[in-house]
Symmetry: D2
Subunit: 359 residues, 4 copies
């Protein structure tokens, strides 16, 4: 079975394992207070242009999401998000478990707009009974989104402006940050995130690390005492250096040009994903979402899917009609060129068989 | 600086790293549903004599503690523990953050007794206003305790009997399980835990893994739907196989005789710790706690501590009088023999100097 | 100003005040353990045909809602409800504050169906990643709904059957129970609720009491230890007898024929509400919702609303187009006949003026 | 049975019932936004000397306690209190249910000191691992305490100064505020509370109201958006005016001299309580606590208690030795003079019988 169903099916990029190996017997302080974490945080601050920001390393994204949200909000405040937002639909109610409601807005291709956010705030504050409803206090977006789509610089600037106008915090889930920044469609930089967000993260788990998300908090008020929140939510890794080390390995030599493994690996994965997209489109399969990143969602005839399922693992996404299914093909830093080639060949064979039949 | 302040200052035992390396590019399912986790769970079930038990892997102990407690208790129920219990004093209120009160009982050397538990339950149910107080529903103990001391088989059997009489669940925090089971003072086996507890865990983080705790749940009702709890608390590692693999490496070849790295490494650490203890006692330093495991708490003259502090990192524990301080010396799977030798020599020098002075 | 904007604008029906007055200096036990609460609970059990059920008195409905839900659910479970459900939109996230997600289904006129519930459960359990989503475990409906509409006996039976099939608890918010049971459109009885629900309540606040909701719990497992939940959520009134006394006064003499003040007062309020509805409809104003109970939602020309606003308080509900507004007119046990007459006359005048203009 | 076991065994002082009766059919806005609440709040602000403070009415004290604490604290913060504090021992873990730990300090006669608070903060911040422990952020005291004892002006000033030094909020539970302010031992005024506290309340439930606590919040930051917290915790009474009206009735005519029913009724209850104390002391019964307020805790020979139990309800408090028991005698605004006389006579008879025996 060749696995395209997710981008966390393998271990770690080799430089990561090598650095863990090399430093294995060194003795350091625990809980992320070691020098490797300090170095990784300093590098990330520089890359994001936020010399004063807090940088905190988490093992996973769900953990990062609810810890940030819980630390940021008053008990009666909620978080605006797309109705497809990961926190709303795929984290077993982790945000609600900390007491906060996800205020879902209808998304388009996984995205919400600055206007939707402004309207939601206007509606809240205009209501006579606003104290009877959850107060919006934060916007959560993922970039790339859960659908693989991207917010542009203009969109992120508009969202940030709306948030600042409305007194909302802006939180960007960057679990697939590297795939976004290296997409041909991207016009954002890490410095844009640093400038426009209150908090965001650079995902490691899905881009070359064994695990790890680097949460960056330019907002000083939110950063205050944040380490208590990390510990309380069980997110303070005893051997915290494992996180700093992995980001040092991934961002090794990074100077803002994308030369480090983190970006090189993601760019390669995007290229492979776009080859898969092009191949499906060439055979007449439309895409469920218009994604320029490592997740692709072709809509296939069910007969083709039955054949492909024998050899390739994908994720069911939607059933747009009785005879077609949309599935997710995911590439990653670890995807092998030959696996993509095999898929493309099998797809060509399926299309060839169809053409023969119809002739 | 030679570090004795904790047992999580290094990376992982070599077999762990080797297995991660060897399997790195394999593709597996995520979230702990892979074959390595299944194999590790099966092995642990066998070793604990609980063929039907749930086995779930966590990254860290705090996370495991509050997830288990939150999953087990009704909202108005609390957990009885020693006043030195890790959940009560050292997890930033993680248990309370899930809504549950720690009902602390005065411990002796980190331990509480079956009689204390019975009395607490009697007091609760005898009160006319019991509905106005938190209902005790679980007992949490650590073994080894936070003070390095051990519950004996007789004590664990008595505690288990008290819990079953009173309708309480018994939860054993085994963050240092390997050090306990391999202590010369120990008379417990993993099968005893399997037989006597509702839930317990085998700690990996402090005994040879990069990270990881294997939670075993013999109680079927508690195990039901437990994976939802794991996900909700951000504790479901995307690359879950990393946890299964580490326990497979640590327990490799284990047949109940303690032949696997997990137990061999811990036994060695205990031996080194007991050499340190013997050396301090030989120089007239009493122990704050009577620990037969890898944590030792000598009470030192402050003048000696000042000297030792220049070269050795330890953890401040107590200040029993104006001129003495108790600190923790921790050994681990990673402790180097030569570092212990150096400490013993420096200690002998300090004692020699004192004897010279006093002569 | 004549107030039609809600059904909690006055104090209490006179029999309630009289009984409070008459018993004022009696000494009783606190916290709902007095004889008046016992008598009221016994009467309610009889009326509902559930001789073993728990009956617990709450001060208010929001408090009752989240206490019931929190007591009933495991941490990872959520509650299915209409997207207009009070718990979802009008309680400041009280349910989420206890850690549970409201799983909103699209309602029609405030109602959801047994089929929607079955489908939601099927979707949940069919998903490979169901452990990554909130597990549905309860259905919450209001009857009458927030829109004034009613579930029929057939609908409640279907919902109850769906819940039992799917392993869900059924919870009916009866804040306006009396208005529902006395509506000309109603075919349900209290015994139907007792037979079909796991938990439901008879609202007092909106039907003649100063305050109070009588929560009935036929489900024995849910009722166990429920008083702890009440106390923990600050819902155990010190002078609990105030609640028992009020329900005794309201249900005085009730034999299932609706002869007590509780039902007589509600029936009268429904009659007044339906007169208002008929008057608006006679003037060509459609209703936003097809309500047979004490809440009516006419869609008015804005010009009329401007005039009516000078004398009558109503609640803004929707703005269906640029020139029309839907508002809520609420009657209650306390509504004065002459206030309704005045409204009807003013409405006739407005219509007369229009007819004159258009002639 | 004559009931001395609590101060909430009767209904309400007559002026309260009369005002509720008189205003019963008036129509007002709901949820505490009516004029009566506004008037009561204005009067309380004046009496407390805090013209800008928030004043919010709650139905009960537990509800007020956890709502205030939850609104005030960050998730990782806890509340320092006496180990006998109501929030710590008698509210079914309501504070923990909102996620916050009670940090209990050993009290003396129900009181803690400014020095204890300072020390707790010093210990927290001095620890290397303070992020692993709950951060103290508020001090909760009750005045009168749960033991009937009083903080003096000097003690409250010292506590307030300690809190301001340490960055803690000061919260005074005033469930029995009226009994404290009218005790012969008292040297505090409402204006002192207004000046020294961040938040405190004037209890109504135990002093003449059917129910109700008036929470005063001089701290503007804490008051911001506080009504959301009230609603979320189910504490926003639909007919909120019932609370305003009761405080208007109780504080009617109050000019700071204690002339209103609130203070007159409490002063009378204190006098009756002190007569009970004096009678027990005259017969050689010591007091468990040195209380100058409406709760008295004599230590009785068990033989006497057996006799008294036949006629008088009291609350068991402690068993200081095998032959003696301490119970609580509570007077209240409703205590009848003749009931106290009866008790005193029965006590004299018991003592007389003893003297006869021993002669």
């Amino acid at each position: 079975m060749i696995r395209f169903e997710c981008d966390y099916g393998e271990g770690a990029a080799e430089p990561v394992l090598e650095l863990l190996q090399k430093t294995n017997r060194e003795q350091t302080l625990g809980y992320g207070t070691d020098d490797y974490c300090a170095q990784a945080a300093a590098l990330i601050r520089t890359l994001c242009g936020v010399p004063e920001a807090g940088v905190h390393f988490f093992v996973g994204a769900t953990q990062a999401n609810f810890t940030v949200i819980d630390a940021a909000l008053k008990p009666w405040q909620g978080v605006l998000c797309a109705d497809s937002g990961h926190i709303h639909v795929h984290e077993t109610g982790a945000v609600e478990a900390t007491g906060h409601k996800c205020l879902a807005l209808p998304g388009v291709q996984g995205k919400i707009t600055a206007d939707q956010v402004r309207q939601a705030c206007r509606d809240h504050w205009a209501s006579d009974s606003h104290e009877h409803t959850v107060q919006p206090a934060m916007v959560y977006i993922s970039n790339p989104t859960e659908d693989g789509t991207l917010y542009s610089l203009a969109e992120l600037e508009a969202m940030s402006a709306a948030c600042r106008e409305c007194g909302l915090l802006l939180f960007v889930d960057g679990a697939r940050m590297a795939y976004g920044l290296t997409s041909p469609a991207n016009d954002l930089t890490l410095k844009d995130y640093g400038r426009l967000c209150d908090v965001f993260y650079l995902g490691g788990t899905k881009c070359g690390a064994l695990f790890g998300e680097a949460v960056v908090i330019p907002n000083a008020a939110l950063n205050r005492d944040f380490r208590y929140a990390i510990k309380q939510h069980g997110a303070m890794l005893a051997k915290g250096r494992l996180l700093g080390l992995q980001f040092l390995a991934l961002l090794n030599g990074e100077d803002g040009t994308g030369c480090s493994p983190y970006f090189q690996l993601a760019a390669r994965a995007n290229r492979l994903a776009l080859r898969i997209r092009a191949a499906f489109e060439a055979q007449g399969c439309p895409m469920l979402f218009d994604s320029p990143t490592n997740q692709q969602f072709p809509i296939l005839p069910d007969a083709w899917l039955d054949v492909l399922n024998r050899r390739y693992a994908t994720t069911f996404t939607a059933k747009p009609d009785a005879d077609h299914t949309a599935v997710r093909f995911c590439t990653s830093w670890a995807t092998r060129e030959e696996d993509v080639e095999a898929l493309l060949k099998d797809l060509a064979d399926l299309a060839g068989a169809r053409n023969t039949e119809t002739n």
